[in-house]
Subunit: 390 residues, 2 copies
């Protein structure tokens, strides 16, 4: 078990009606104006917008708005938000949404007190010392952006989707009312679920021996997600399943699953997925259900052990050698993705064979090569994995 430094300062207000509980903290912190940040119709449809603005009105808090945040959120919207914060008196940011909206809020928070262009921060050319506090409301669980210090932003001009992490970026409070997620589409639920599972797998399959105790926590999380996602496909308004899904998403990526591991997770699949999302506007979860099995098929013979343990603990695969178990595990994961109608090939995403090189080139330039921890991937590995994903 490796050394670690663990502190997650975000307060989670979890459950039915939790937006109301935000009020006492906003009052205590003397917040007078917030920049409300959201995507589109979904915040109206699910009821979050009304609940939040009713609360803000009651407290006499002003709330200029920045909306139309898209999935795979972009740096131009971040720049807009920073300009808004610099021009007017904004005490706090209030994202209402899922990962894209929170990632945008964190980027605005990071750039608001920086004098250059915020993209410098994502290029690791500038440090953050001061941020605007974030009090957020979750309407789509998956990335756990509301309880971690990570922000993933796309820069279409540079053709880069990249992530940045800094302890200053932890939101102060995240209110999670699982009822807001009753109106998510089946696709959103499935892709979010794929992402949650991926966050656990990036740790469990990182090649570090970690600890049996923490691995078991990760296996329990994945096993439960295999149950919860189909429950929600059957009944999108199943409160307990929505709540377990939301809470599992946080425990999968609030950092706790990295405690005791030599790595912070492998995250090659995330890197490879980011290029698919960026170039072909594919949902993050859909990129992962395609690329993670291909990554696994490419690598498992190199080190079958973590795949075999995953199979034993999650898919009840006990027969054969570790290599045989590993392959059966990857097949079981693909079968699960197919069962929940998540894509498992680039073809299903309408990506053509002659576009694979473009993906490989993009993934290779979005950050330093080699990347990954189970096996360090170079440019050729990246290309071969995309080919397998085809």
């Amino acid at each position: 078990m490796q050394n670690f430094n663990w502190c997650n300062p975000t307060r989670v207000l979890f459950g039915k009606g939790s937006v109301k509980d935000l009020a006492e903290y906003l009052k205590a912190d003397n917040i007078k104006s917030v920049l409300l940040i959201y995507g589109g119709k979904s915040v109206f449809k699910c009821g979050a917008y009304t609940q939040v603005t009713d609360m803000l009105n009651e407290l006499g808090i002003s709330f200029p708005e920045l909306n139309d945040i898209k999935p795979n959120p972009r740096i131009d919207k971040v720049r807009d938000g920073i300009a808004r914060v610099k021009l007017s008196k904004i005490d706090a940011l209030m994202p209402i949404g899922g990962g894209s909206v929170f990632d945008t809020a964190k980027a605005i928070s990071a750039g608001a007190f920086y004098n250059g262009d915020v993209w410098d921060i994502y290029q690791h050319k500038a440090k953050i010392n001061k941020t605007v506090p974030i009090y957020g409301v979750v309407t789509a669980s998956a990335t756990a952006s509301e309880v971690n210090a990570i922000s993933v932003i796309s820069n279409p001009e540079a053709n880069i989707k990249t992530s940045f992490s800094d302890p200053h970026l932890y939101p102060k409070i995240a209110a999670v009312d699982p009822e807001f997620q009753f109106t998510l589409s089946e696709k959103q639920t499935v892709y979010g679920g794929v992402d949650i599972i991926a966050h656990a797998l990036e740790r469990l399959l990182d090649g570090d021996e970690g600890s049996e105790f923490m691995d078991d926590q990760g296996y329990a999380l994945v096993r439960n997600m295999l149950r919860i996602i189909p429950e929600l496909i059957d009944d999108p308004k199943n409160y307990d399943a929505r709540a377990e899904y939301a809470w599992a998403s946080q425990l999968a990526h609030n950092g706790i699953l990295s405690c005791g591991r030599a790595t912070r997770g492998d995250f090659s699949s995330h890197r490879l997925g980011h290029s698919i999302s960026l170039l072909f506007d594919v949902a993050h979860g859909a990129s992962l259900s395609v690329v993670m099995p291909a990554w696994a098929r490419y690598l498992y013979k190199f080190n079958p052990v973590p795949f075999a343990r995953l199979g034993e603990n999650v898919f009840d695969i006990f027969d054969g050698s570790d290599e045989e178990k590993a392959l059966a595990t990857i097949e079981a994961l693909e079968d699960f993705y197919r069962d929940i109608n998540a894509p498992t090939t680039l073809r299903e995403l309408n990506i053509k064979e002659d576009e694979i090189q473009q993906l490989a080139d993009n993934a290779s330039k979005s950050g330093a090569l080699p990347f990954g921890t189970l096996k360090k991937l170079n440019q050729n590995d990246v290309l071969e994995i995309y080919k397998l994903a085809y």
Copy 2:
């Protein structure tokens, strides 16, 4: 799944040499003097005292000492510590030890800015608004006092051992170097382990349906402790087992296992155990291995379900009705305690049959009756459970 409000602000510096990592935080927070709080010889034997005082000397931090804190720590020592803090300029408290030392530090922290007697706070007659920050070093894991907001203190004059909890009591930083625990006796390791298991069971057996996902996290914790304790009996210097034990102790009682439950845990067994510890100076863990199976035998027919689920998920008990599984589970838990040489009867603690009434009287007066959540216990229930424990 029930609503909850989750935030654990304590920073954990975990692993080999983690005392050194405290330095940067003490510097950043401009700490110039700490009250060093510890028990006796063990902090010298394990090397923690030397490492801590070397670091403090290097930083030029003064460190008056309050030592000789005993297991089942007492209010008089707390009063001594408060007097010390009130008389001299103390910026922070630095407990070095296990639960008793941290509980004492928290009590001093709570009382330092209160003008009356600190026992008022434990009697819920006074509120805390301001505390002295705690930067602690763990040398014996079990209670997780270093990462929670609970303090358990005994008042021998009033013949009461009771706990108090307040968000102000979270330590600011807890450094955990598992190597300090290489020198713990087998008894300490076993009793600590019994306590860790009990913290998970107090939730899993609280009668609330909770959530399958969180129950699985609890089961994984218990299952791993059943492996880790014997590993440490075999080899007290097994670093990975010490580390898993230390980290499991924190996850068992840092509050996360209560998330989504209607109760904060049943904790009848803890209440019943406190009277045994108080009146007969019994180690906390030893009181729990005696009282928890008796509590379970007294209650399981009333609601066998949580016991049966525990048996399936932890002890591989699959045959029979829920009631039969429940009984087999309790027997398996007792067998485990016997295997690790933890007592399972009051007789083994040299408590006589005619002293049982005294225990029941004490447990009934140490807090409001009825207590417990799986089944609310009244005075007669308490007596019957102690009789079963005999």
